[in-house]
């Protein structure tokens, strides 16, 4: 409207507008060109970079290949080293195992700076029990430096008899005493721990476990009289008692069946290890119970 009202001004303005429009459209028609140019530039750059990447990849592959080839040349030696080391380790393990296995023979030792430290591993019925050490000084006269043998084992007596003249006999004798002590102790411990139900009072024992005194019932809670047993182990190198007395608490005159039982128990205690005798009592009890029910 303004253009029609002011014809001169309107026309110039219109021309200006047209001019602007033309320059804008020209720019627009130019832009895709520069954009295209830019695109072209970037495109070539991308291609260059791709070429570079491929080259580098190829170079890396080449390097790796040559390194592998090197390793392949070296590898035969390295495997030999590894094998040697493994072999040595295996040998070491074997030796350690053998030394440990010596424990199962009951008598082993290790050389010390002044003599030898003897280790006595005691066992009873296939159970490995306590170990005791005697550290010997090899001098004239041969002497014991220190030891872990309990005070009530007659070590000094055995040493006085055999240490200077026959060391094998000394060690053998000491082994006998210690194994027997361990065996007796094992039996007493098993009785106390596994068969407490059959005992009617505490087990009386002494340090050497060579005098055991206890009362027991075959049927705990039942009506039978308890038995009193007294086991004497006069032979300190034995694990079975030398004297056994079984009496029946509560009645002087026993019926024949009780008397038979009492006598049989005496024989059992003399011939079988203590805990085994009680194990047979427990089995019999179970059997009786199962028969009754």
């Amino acid at each position: 409207m303004a253009g029609i009202l002011a014809p001169g001004l309107g026309v110039l303005a219109h021309l200006e507008r047209l001019e602007n429009q033309m320059s804008r459209s020209r720019k627009q028609s130019e832009e895709p060109q520069s954009v295209q140019a830019q695109e072209r530039v970037l495109g070539t750059k991308i291609q260059k970079l791709r070429h570079l990447r491929d080259d580098l990849k190829a170079a890396v592959r080449h390097r790796r290949g040559s390194v592998k080839a090197c390793i392949a040349n070296v590898e035969p030696n390295r495997t030999v080293e590894v094998n040697e080391q493994e072999a040595l380790e295996e040998k070491l393990e074997n030796v350690k195992a053998v030394l440990q296995a010596y424990h199962f023979t009951g008598l082993s030792g290790k050389l010390t700076s002044r003599g030898v430290c003897v280790c006595i591993n005691t066992a009873f019925e296939g159970n490995l029990l306590d170990s005791y050490f005697v550290d010997l000084v090899i001098q004239k006269p041969l002497r014991i430096h220190h030891h872990s043998v309990p005070v009530f084992i007659p070590l000094e007596e055995i040493a006085a008899k055999y240490l200077q003249t026959n060391i094998q006999h000394f060690l053998f004798s000491l082994c006998e005493y210690l194994n027997a002590y361990s065996g007796r102790k094992y039996q007493a411990d098993r009785l106390q721990s596994d068969f407490a139900a059959l005992l009617t009072g505490p087990l009386q024992r002494n340090p050497l476990c060579n005098l055991l005194s206890f009362t027991y019932k075959l049927d705990p809670g039942g009506q039978s009289f308890p038995f009193c047993a007294r086991l004497l182990y006069k032979d300190l190198t034995a694990t079975l008692p030398t004297d056994v007395t079984v009496t029946c608490q509560g009645g002087e005159a026993l019926s024949t069946s009780w008397e038979e039982q009492r006598a049989s128990h005496e024989t059992l205690f003399c011939t079988k290890p203590l805990h085994q005798v009680f194990a047979s009592f427990a089995r019999r009890e179970k059997l009786d119970m199962s028969l009754v029910s």
């Binding site: 430290c117 050490f133 550290d135 872990s148 005070v151 002494n206 005098l211």
Partner: protein, 345 residues
């Protein structure tokens, strides 16, 4: 409950420090859990004691119960007494020791009661095969004095017994006899060993002071030792000294071992030696007879002190000195083996 028993229990409980009271009462096992729970241990001691005496009266504590409490108190406070060591010997050709605790107790009590009408004997067994015996002495005409008892700790199936030193020395022979006969020995002898520390006496007499042994399973301690040496050494010490120091440390280790030493406070040695002199015509060196002297060592912890002398290089001299005093020894010997020779702790 007898008044004397009540008084005795009261005095015993009063001796017990408050922080030990519950432990000792539990060990005594005379008052039940329920009874103990009724006591307020946070009161003043006198009130606690009153309450405990009342509970003991309810349960009718006997003289034997009171004596047992006294034994437990003494077991907790062993160091308050000085202990002597006695060694028994069996006759030649005697049978194997079939020790029966019941028989021993009966026999021991009977012997004392037959000799002295008035005597209180109480026993308490411990886990390490030892029996604590408490004896309160009286005479034919007087009741036993509960406040000056003698304690004996006897390790069954060993020849050793430990007795608390007491002023009533006249009863010692009777006590010795009772112990010997009851334990089926022949003779009893007092050893030259005395200490407040029962554990140390045990370690010395039972030869249990070193319980580390070399086995194939243990790692060699040699490396560790030399490492310790390096750390402590002055950087200015040069090679020759290192060799000497290592030698000293090795000898110390061999002699004393790695274990804690028994606690000795006093050691006395008789020494007979001839005097050596470089000077010609020295009077002492010309003597025909050897010199006789008495050497006394004393320290709060003698063996540890001697052990620490080694780095100070005085040790070898003392070793030589002690070597002479034990006539049959040569070279380095385990020092502890000298101890029974004229030693008082």
């Amino acid at each position: 409950m007898d008044e004397t028993v009540a008084e005795f229990i009261k005095r015993t409980i009063l001796k017990i420090p408050m922080n030990e009271l519950t432990t000792i009462l539990k060990a005594w096992d005379f008052l039940s859990e329920n009874q103990l729970q009724t006591v307020n241990f946070r009161q003043r001691k006198e009130s606690v004691v009153q309450h405990l005496i009342h509970l003991c009266e309810e349960k009718r504590a006997s003289l034997n119960d009171a004596a047992l409490l006294d034994i437990i108190y003494t077991q907790f406070h062993q160091h308050q007494k000085v202990w002597d060591v006695f060694q028994m010997t069996k006759g030649p050709g005697e049978d194997v020791d079939l020790f029966d605790m019941k028989q021993f107790k009966n026999s021991f009590k009977k012997i004392l009661q037959r000799a002295l009408k008035n005597v209180t004997v109480s026993f308490r067994e411990t886990e390490e095969n030892a029996v604590w015996i408490r004896i309160a002495w009286g005479t034919q005409y007087t009741k036993p004095n509960q406040y000056k008892p003698t304690y004996v700790v006897y390790y069954s199936q060993t020849p050793y017994a430990f007795k608390s030193s007491s002023t009533l020395r006249r009863n010692t022979p009777l006590l010795g006899q009772a112990l010997t006969v009851a334990s089926k020995h022949h003779q009893i002898v007092k050893m030259d060993l005395r200490s407040r520390y029962l554990d140390s006496l045990k370690a010395i007499v039972f030869k249990q002071y070193n319980q580390t042994f070399e086995t194939h399973n243990s790692t060699t301690p040699l490396q560790e030792r030399s490492l310790g040496l390096d750390i402590n050494m002055d950087s200015r010490i040069i090679h020759e000294n290192i060799v000497e120091k290592e030698r000293v440390q090795r000898i110390t280790q061999e002699t004393f071992g790695d274990y804690p030493q028994p606690q000795l406070e006093f050691a006395q040695y008789k020494l007979e030696t001839k005097f050596k002199s470089d000077l010609n015509g020295s009077i002492l060196a010309e003597r025909e007879e050897p010199l006789r002297c008495l050497i006394k060592f004393s320290s709060p912890h003698l063996l540890e002190a001697l052990k620490s002398l080694a780095p100070a290089a005085l040790f070898s001299r003392i070793q030589k000195l002690l070597c002479y005093s034990a006539s049959h020894s040569q070279g380095t010997q385990d020092l502890s083996s000298y101890v029974p020779l004229y030693t008082r702790c």
